[in-house]
């Protein structure tokens, strides 16, 4: 079990900066995100886009800002669980919380900070009958260990970078790879697209363009993927695995089930300290709601600072905070 003063749900910019603000007050953080990388919307949706309203940076890209935040919080040695979704938050008798992730990781913390943004980034799923019945039985939305597909017949659907990248990787491992793409051109990285085309010309993979997947066959375990060609024909491709790769989109996810006072998809907070309706649980950044809320990075940063001062009394009940500027006190690394 992982144990920490604070567990932060969400490694977006606001969750990351919360590590800094709580670190200044000697509180240690563990951060969990369902994405395999930190940065939330900045790395997942707009890594290369410039942001113009971060104080002190006339212009900075999403990716650069996340890099700077990681440098800024490094002295406070946060620990991370990435690629796992927090499913449950349960309050214990001793007033600590146990958080359980989708992979069964358990984290114990005195304070929970929900910095869940627009929710969990989850795969976009095509509308195919019974798709969910095959999840884990031949249908996967990401590739964690390519070796799992060794000797398999794999059908990949999608036309973006990740579909092209995994087609290339799996072409060297699987028995057969078929890429099904709706368009007739690829808009992903041109190099990758032309390598996929070359391998297709050489017969090392099957490329089916102007087509879409319609249904799955098999009894419990996948054995084929139905494809409809836009010319009018249809066929069934024998398959052990079907990997639809259409990118990720945020969805609220488990946060809705934690008994918090919510306003549609956002958590209502008290603006004194961004606490929720549950003591010791805070919500900061895009996930919270209060009169006048603006979904901006700088607003989330401000919320993190106020949250940290309030959370201090739960982590150090016998101590009082002396407010000191960082210019005076410096950064006291852990």
């Amino acid at each position: 079990m992982i144990s920490s003063d604070i567990c932060i749900i969400g490694a977006g910019p606001v969750g990351l900066f919360a590590v800094f603000e709580t670190g200044l007050l000697k509180m240690r953080c563990h951060v969990v995100d369902v994405l395999p990388q930190v940065g939330g919307q900045l790395t997942e949706i707009y890594p290369g886009k410039p942001i113009y309203d971060i104080p002190g940076y006339p212009k900075i890209t999403g990716e650069e800002l996340v890099g700077q935040l990681m440098t800024q919080i490094a002295p406070f040695k946060p620990s991370f669980t990435l690629g796992e979704r927090v499913e449950q938050v349960s309050r214990q008798r001793d007033e600590t919380f146990l958080l359980t992730t989708s992979a069964g990781t358990v984290i114990s913390a005195r304070v929970v900070v929900i910095a869940g943004g627009l929710g969990c980034f989850e795969p976009r799923k095509p509308v195919i009958p019974d798709l969910n019945l095959y999840e884990g039985n031949g249908v996967a939305y990401s590739v964690r260990d390519p070796e799992v597909f060794r000797g398999h017949k794999v059908v990949i659907a999608g036309g973006g970078d990740s579909a092209l990248d995994w087609t290339l990787v799996l072409a060297g491992i699987a028995d057969k790879v078929t890429l099904v793409h709706r368009g007739n051109t690829f808009r992903g990285a041109p190099d990758t697209a032309s390598r996929v085309q070359e391998l297709a010309n050489a017969g090392k993979l099957d490329l089916i363009i102007r087509a879409h997947t319609t249904h799955l066959t098999g009894k419990g375990k996948l054995n084929g993927v139905g494809v409809s060609l836009h010319g009018g024909d249809s066929l069934i491709i024998p398959a052990d695995d079907f990997i639809p790769l259409f990118g990720l989109t945020p969805r609220l996810g488990p946060i809705a089930e934690w008994g918090l006072n919510m306003d549609k998809d956002a958590i209502n907070v008290n603006t004194i300290d961004y606490s929720t309706s549950e003591e010791r649980i805070y919500a900061i950044g895009d996930i919270n709601h209060y009169p006048g809320k603006l979904k901006l990075i700088l607003c989330g940063f401000h919320e993190a600072a106020l949250m940290a001062r309030s959370a201090f009394r739960f982590v150090y009940p016998d101590q009082r905070i002396n407010f000191k500027y960082t210019t005076v006190y410096g950064i006291n690394a852990f």
């Binding site: 949706i45 976009r124 259409f246 945020p250």
Partner: protein, 113 residues
């Protein structure tokens, strides 16, 4: 005066994902997108990336008048291709400036799946 203003107004119709519909009457303004107008008229449409053609959550199906719209540019086409279940008459509402060609058009919000 008042009547001159109203002459320039356009009217289009939009269905939400439950199938309920409303007509929207508005003066064309190219600085607004169809997404902006749908949102300000109370339609529940996310538009997560705020109009950068990066999220696909502003997808609408153009039920009537599709052929009047200029074709999608590269960025919009790339995003449309990324989405798993778009059909040929789907557009990103954030990429459609509010213009007089929308008069009489009909849109349907697509499920944000």
């Amino acid at each position: 005066m008042g009547s001159m203003r109203s002459e320039r107004k356009i009217e289009f119709k939009a269905y939400d994902t439950d199938g309920d519909w409303r007509t929207v009457e508005i003066t064309p303004d190219a600085s607004l997108s169809l997404l902006d107008v749908l949102q300000s008229n109370g339609f529940d449409i996310p538009g997560v990336c705020g109009g950068l053609a990066l999220c696909g959550t502003c997808l609408v199906k153009v039920i009537c008048g599709y052929e009047k719209l200029p074709p999608p540019d590269d960025e919009e086409a790339a995003m449309l291709e990324m989405l798993p279940d778009t059909n040929p008459k789907d557009r990103l509402s954030c990429q459609l400036p509010l213009s007089s060609i929308m008069n009489g058009m009909v849109f349907r919000l697509q499920n944000y799946e």
